[in-house]
Every structure is written in C-alpha cells, then in structure tokens.
Symmetry: C2
Subunit: 461 residues, 2 copies
C-alpha cells in the first residue's frame, strides 16, 4: 500500500508501475464508458485522480460509490495527457471497503464554519480542516525542532496544580469529591482532606513558575502543554483549553529573550512555508488573501524594538480616533497594538518596559522603579502574539512585591528558594499555540484550529 503523499513526492518511482492505494472518495463522476474518482488517503493535501473504465467487472457499481466511501484500488500510475495533475491512476481493480450512505453530513457543497463545528469528528475530512490540522501538527513539530536543536530541555509542567501562576485568573477545579454530597469539616467548610490530593486543586493556567525551577537547573528549557481558563468569554480568540509554549532561559536578559522569540517565530513560519506549500497556497486563496505576503514580511524583516513609553508617544501623536484613550499607564488595547505594528512599522514590533502596575508580580523591576522588564510582541493582523519578561531574580524586591499583593508566602516558598540558592538573571515568554496556528493559517476563530474545542457550554466529544 503506497500513500498518496509518497506518490506525489516521488512520482518518478511509480510511473508506469502497478501500485495499490487506499483512501476515501472526494468526488466520483461516471459517464458512459469510464469514470473519474478523486481519491484521498488523508496524507496529502491534493487527492489522486483515478480513472476507471468499463473493463472493470463492477463498473456499474463503482459509478454509484458515494462521497467518503473507502476503497482499495489496484492500478497503474500513468502520465496524464491534460488536466491539472501530470499523472493519474488507471484502475485495474476497485474494491469497496466501507460505503458512506447519503446521510453523510458533508455532502459536496459549501458548509459554514459553524455547521462544521457540529461535526468536529468529520470536519478534518474537508480541505480546509485537513489543511488546518496538518499545519497545526507541523507548527508543533517546528517548535520542538527549534528548541531541541538549540539544546533546550523539554519540560512537562504539572497540569493539576495547587498553585495559581498569575495570582488571579479563573480556574477549573479538579476534584474527586462527590458533588451530590460534598463532605464538610467541623467548621462547615469543604473537607478537602477527603479530596484526592488532600487539598484544593485546579487546572494550570501557566507552567511558568515551575519552568523557572527547571531553567535554573538546565539553563534553557521549554514547556509545551495544555493550559486552561474558566473565563466566560465567548469570543473568536478565547478557548477554555488551549496549548501554550513557554521557554525559560537562565543567564538571559530581556534582549536575549526577544532574540529567541524572534528567531523562533521566523523558524516556525519558514518551516511551514517549506513543508506545507499546498496548504499555504490554499489558505492564501480561500481564507486570507494577504496571508503569504504577511508571513513573508515577518520572516524577511528584523523585528522593531520600542519601549512602552515610545509606544505611548507614537499613539499620542497619531492622527487617529482610538476607542480607548491613550495615556502613559494604560494597558495597550488591540487597536493600539495593531496601529503600531500595521500602520507605523508595518512589521512585527516588540514593546518593552511596561508600567509595573499592569504587569505580573514576577517581572524584573527596572531602575526607574516605574516599569518592569516585560516585552510583548505585536504582529500585523493580530496584535499581541507573545508575552514575556525578565524575571525578578532579587529576593528582597520579589518578596516585597508579593507581600504588597497579599500573596500566600508559604505557598511560594519554593519559588523564593530559586532566588535564595544561586539566583541569576533569567527570562522567558509564552506563546499561545492556537494563536500561532491562527496567525499562520489565517483562520479567524480559535474553534477552527482546535480539533475538539472547549468553550463555555461546549465540551462535546
């Protein structure tokens, strides 16, 4: 059995040879004496044209085989006179394996994205989703390849956790207590001693803090795993379950952090452009006509680097009516971010050194005592795609901050240990994996880049 991918890749090895292939019908057009089947086996974006003629004993049955039926076909691969493809398979034998009757939900017509979400188990059989999920897979691999080639250690942060990386954020609780009859203790509170872990646990919102522990042992590490937000936000950019990549580097300052983020993003895009040519052409044609130009712009330009203060100055001078007024101290909104990256610089822009009030406790306080060594990467078409920082490595400053925020110091004692025993400058960032997939495919809804998306009210499959 030869895959259609292999036939397209090494066609010369198979021309004029008898081969056996298998797959599913994408189209089937019969006429009086012969017919054409477009067959896909899922391995290749383009399907293979199969020609069958009257000489086949089951010709009249083949003609009736319906969309998505599975077949095994023996035949000879020959050069094709006209048509789109330069080769086709002349069938000698076509065997029906599994029929698909006319209740098959994806009949040959355009379906809305909304409808396709209701059949998430079948939508990867469509061109769009076949392309999306293959590219998703390639991006994931490119990320591993990038970090492994640079000696980073891949690290699995815990999914179930008793701590909360951001000191906030809505979380899913994980429990084995019976909800019908929650055990209570003498004080009338939930008796977590009876829960599986003996305490209240949640699904992780970030692996960063644990990541730091590993960076201070291995130098360079990265996580790539699922993270969760129980936010009741029904937007095209939010899912309750999504994957995140979080590299963390010891003895690396904010500049190194930006260097790595820039190199990584370029590496991923190049990898996809090289390894999913047909898919990317398809996206550019049917999903987003500016896609390839935009990605090309990203890989071929050095990213801009400006401070938050410079960004505010630019926005204040802008002859533009922003919905959210601009003033030093505000958190940049998507409209601001997109103006900077799309209209001012027309390429990716790192914005650094944000006001400390709008950023997380673990970021390094700058000498001005007003800003922290944070960086956000803004890209045309999206806005923020990466967020990172140099971490506060000075225990006195970190402890004071945590106390000011009323954080539970006992719970974070291990995190402070990292500053007690051989602390050093270290930095890292987070890339939302699905954001990256959306960016590279041009898909506009996060539900359409996740195999089985989880959002408010939806955990089907």
């Amino acid at each position: 059995m030869i895959s259609i991918r292999e036939i397209f890749k090494n066609t010369e090895n198979y021309i004029d040879k008898e081969i056996e292939i298998c797959g599913w019908i994408k189209t089937n057009r019969g006429s009086k004496n012969f017919g054409f089947i477009e067959l896909t086996d899922g391995t290749n974006f383009n399907s293979l044209q199969v020609v069958y003629g009257k000489e086949l004993g089951n010709f009249s049955e083949i003609e009736k085989y319906t969309l998505s039926s599975s077949l095994i076909i023996k035949g000879k691969l020959v050069e094709s006179p006209g048509a789109n493809q330069s080769f086709e398979l002349q069938a000698k034998e076509i065997k029906l394996i599994g029929a698909a009757d006319n209740t098959y939900p994806l009949q040959k017509k355009r379906h809305t994205m909304e409808y396709l979400r209701t059949v998430s188990h079948l939508r990867p059989r469509t061109n769009t989703f076949n392309a999306v999920f293959r590219v998703r897979s390639l991006i994931a691999y490119a990320i591993h390849k990038f970090f492994q080639e640079r000696g980073f250690v891949y690290f699995h942060a815990p999914i179930i956790t008793a701590s909360d990386a951001e000191g906030a954020g809505e979380m899913f609780q994980v429990t084995t207590l019976p909800l019908e009859d929650i055990p209570k203790n003498d004080e009338g509170k939930v008796d977590y001693k009876k829960d599986f872990f003996g305490k209240e646990t949640n699904l992780t919102v970030s692996g960063q803090l644990e990541d730091e522990a590993f960076a201070l042992a291995f130098g360079n590490v990265y996580t790539f795993g699922p993270t969760f937000r129980a936010e009741n936000s029904n937007t095209p950019r939010h899912a309750a379950e999504f994957w995140m990549i979080e590299p963390e580097m010891a003895f690396a300052d904010l500049n190194v952090n930006m260097d790595v983020a820039e190199a990584m993003l370029k590496y991923i895009i190049r990898y996809v452009l090289e390894n999913a040519k047909e898919e990317m052409k398809f996206f550019n044609k049917f999903i987003d006509k500016d896609l390839l130009a935009r990605l090309d712009n990203v890989v071929s330009n050095e990213f801009e680097r400006i401070t938050y203060t410079q960004a505010i100055e630019i926005l204040e001078k802008a002859n533009k009516d922003f919905k959210f007024p601009v003033k030093w101290g505000i958190d940049l909104q998507t409209e601001h971010e997109r103006y900077i990256t799309e209209e001012v610089f027309k390429k990716p822009v790192f914005v650094t050194n944000y006001p400390k009030e709008i950023k997380a406790f673990y970021m390094t306080e700058n000498d001005d005592k007003k800003t922290v060594a944070a960086m956000d990467l803004l890209v045309p078409g999206v806005g923020e795609i990466i967020g990172g920082s140099q971490r506060e490595h000075r225990i006195d400053i970190l402890e004071k901050k945590m106390k000011d925020l009323n954080m539970n110091m006992d719970e974070y004692d291990w995190y402070l240990d990292l500053r007690r025993f051989g602390t050093c400058i270290h930095s890292g960032y987070g890339l939302g994996f699905e954001r990256a997939v959306m960016y590279i495919t041009g898909m506009k809804n996060i539900r359409d880049v996740i195999p089985f998306p989880r959002t408010v009210g939806n955990a089907n499959y």
Copy 2:
C-alpha cells in the same frame, strides 16, 4: 556567553581562547595558592573544571563560595595536564551573581530519592535528575521525530471531556461549580446546567476515540498529551497525571500496528543512546547495571510475536510456581509477562489475540469469536509497555457489543459515524510515556521521572 555543552562539543574552537561562561558551583576546593571549581550551567551532564589562583583579587572570597552559588567567569580554556578532563578553564575573573547559603537543601552528600521528592524544584540540579529529565526530553523529541518523519499528523486530543474512553476507570471531575454550595435542580440532583460546560466533565483517560476520527481523515496520526487516573493506588508505577502517546493508523491491521510499535521503540532507544551517552553511562553505573545490555538487546533483536493462546501454553508447561494460576481466559499478570519475555524469549515479545472478555469494547473481534485483535508488547525488566489493537470497524458488531455493555449509544453516536461513513480497518496503540522513560533510564519509581509528580495526596508545586 558560551554554554558548557558547546565547549565539550567543539572544544577545539575554544582551546587557548578567552571565553566567558556562567553557571552554578558543583564543588569548590581551595588550597593555599589556587583552587578548583566544578561549574555546571545545566546544559551538559559533565561539569567544567575551573582553576583559579591567587592573582585574582577576590581569591579569598572565591574560596568561600558555596555549592549552587551562581557565577560568571572569564578565562582561558587550556589543555589540562592530568585529571579526568582534557581541558579546563583558567579563570581571569570570577564574579559572584547569586550566593547560596548553607541552608541549601542539597549539600554534597547522598540524598534518598524520597527526600529529593520533597525538593522537586531543586532536585534537577543533582546528577541523577539532571540526567533523567534531559533523557525524558530527548525521548519526547525522538517520539515526535519518529512520527513526523513518517508523515503522521500530531493531534491534540481534548483534555477536558464529557466522555469516558474506556467505559470505566476512575476519573477526576472538572467543574466551576462552587463546592461549598453546589446548585441543585428541582429533582435535588447537581444542576450541571450551571457548570461551565453545561454538563458533567472529566479529565481524559485516553484520546483514542477522538484519535480514530482523525486517523480516518489523515491516515496516520498520533497524540502525545497528558492523561489522568484518579486511582487510589500508591505504587511505584502509578501516577494520577501522566503523558501518553497514542498513534492511530487507517488501513492498518494488527501486523502493521506491531511493525510500527517495534520500529518506534527501537528508534527512541537508539536516539537516546546516541544523544545522551554520558547520561546513559551514568544510569548504567549508578541506577541499573544491566540497563545498557538490556537496551542493546532490544534494538538488536527482532521482537517475538506469539498469540495469547500460545502464551498460555508456554505458561502451563513452565516449571514455575506462579502466584496467579494460569488458565486460558485469565488476564496475564506481571509475573507471567516477565517469565515469557525474560526467561523464555529473552527479548521483547508481542502477545496477540487476547480473550475478548478481558479487553476493551472497541477491539476487532476475530473470526473465532472468542478473541480480539489486541496486542501487548512485553519487555524484559518491566512486562507490558505498549498495548494496542485493531479497532472494530464493522458497525453491526460494534453496536451489538456496546449495547451488551449498556453503553450510552447517544454519547457514542459520533464514534459510530466513523463506521457509517467510509469505515476501514484501522489500528493503534498506547505507550505510557513515563513507563518508557523508566524503561530507558532504569529509574524504578514513576515519581522520579516526572518533574512534579501528582499522586494520591500529593499535588505540591
């Protein structure tokens, strides 16, 4: 800044050059006029020897720098006259970045594995755990590399799920309902309409069913993600949170399934042997003296393939006192599995075609109607490491089985769709990632191959 890994790898590029390195002290021995620091930056299993002399202004301070303090060192890499390493760094400048005082929990002495688990944030700084987690990372990458090179699509199965892949198994519940005050409906039952997803949800125990949907769209796919079991089993081989690899292949029967499993396991082991030579030597010396011989045996032999019925015959004839009596129909116990793989065949053995009563509903029923097309891979030293099957692709047989098991047919309707619309023979297997890491490192407790393990009563960090 040059990494110690780079210095070891391309030593000739740096000999007699001035370089700057950073890292943490592993040992520091001063004498009257000079001293030696073993420095690690985490990137390399072996540390770099740094020699410092009286000519350094802060000589008397350097002598006092303690274990795990972080330093930045400038110096010249020179060939070393005697000693273990053929090169060392002659320090020109040693700068203390972060001291580690004498409360550092990992002072220079042997610590028990149990103690080290209590400092999971620091244990990767020890030789053993540095080696374990680097090898864990390499195994993960080797798995991706193996499948990607063969065109498999990496697929993220959902973590939060409303279905239960095995029709059994203890699961963690995921909820946003307030446990202190669970909302009830008119019937006095938990009102899941108020929960985040509008229904009862759990953490996945396997991505296999969703995996099948993707295999029937892409041909060859694999998952690699976390799975969960809320089993109250406090053993060295069970964790509540662990990672699993589940490849799934369309148009592939049980033989192809075994071919891929065998090729994958050999590929991973070879990759680690090539890319973690020092670590593997270390394990062989300090953790398990038979390790390298055992792994070499695995990569250099064709795996044996026998049926369950043959396995039972072998066990019945064995001159051996098994704790669990042998009889056709029993589930093989570890003692049986290890006898077959260690004493009879002395190499990995696939056992196929198990009695249907002891295997899952989704496995293909064989023509004898007594057995199913299942396969388990048994390896010396462990027993079962991989379990898989050819999936039941015939809707009538599958439906009957599910009904006999009183499964909720509505919930699995989408799974039956895969048999309704172009069904085909397909197969897959599951590899417990941590089991693989234990097997390849020789580590005996699953808690010692997971960065921050989750087990009954333990969700620290």
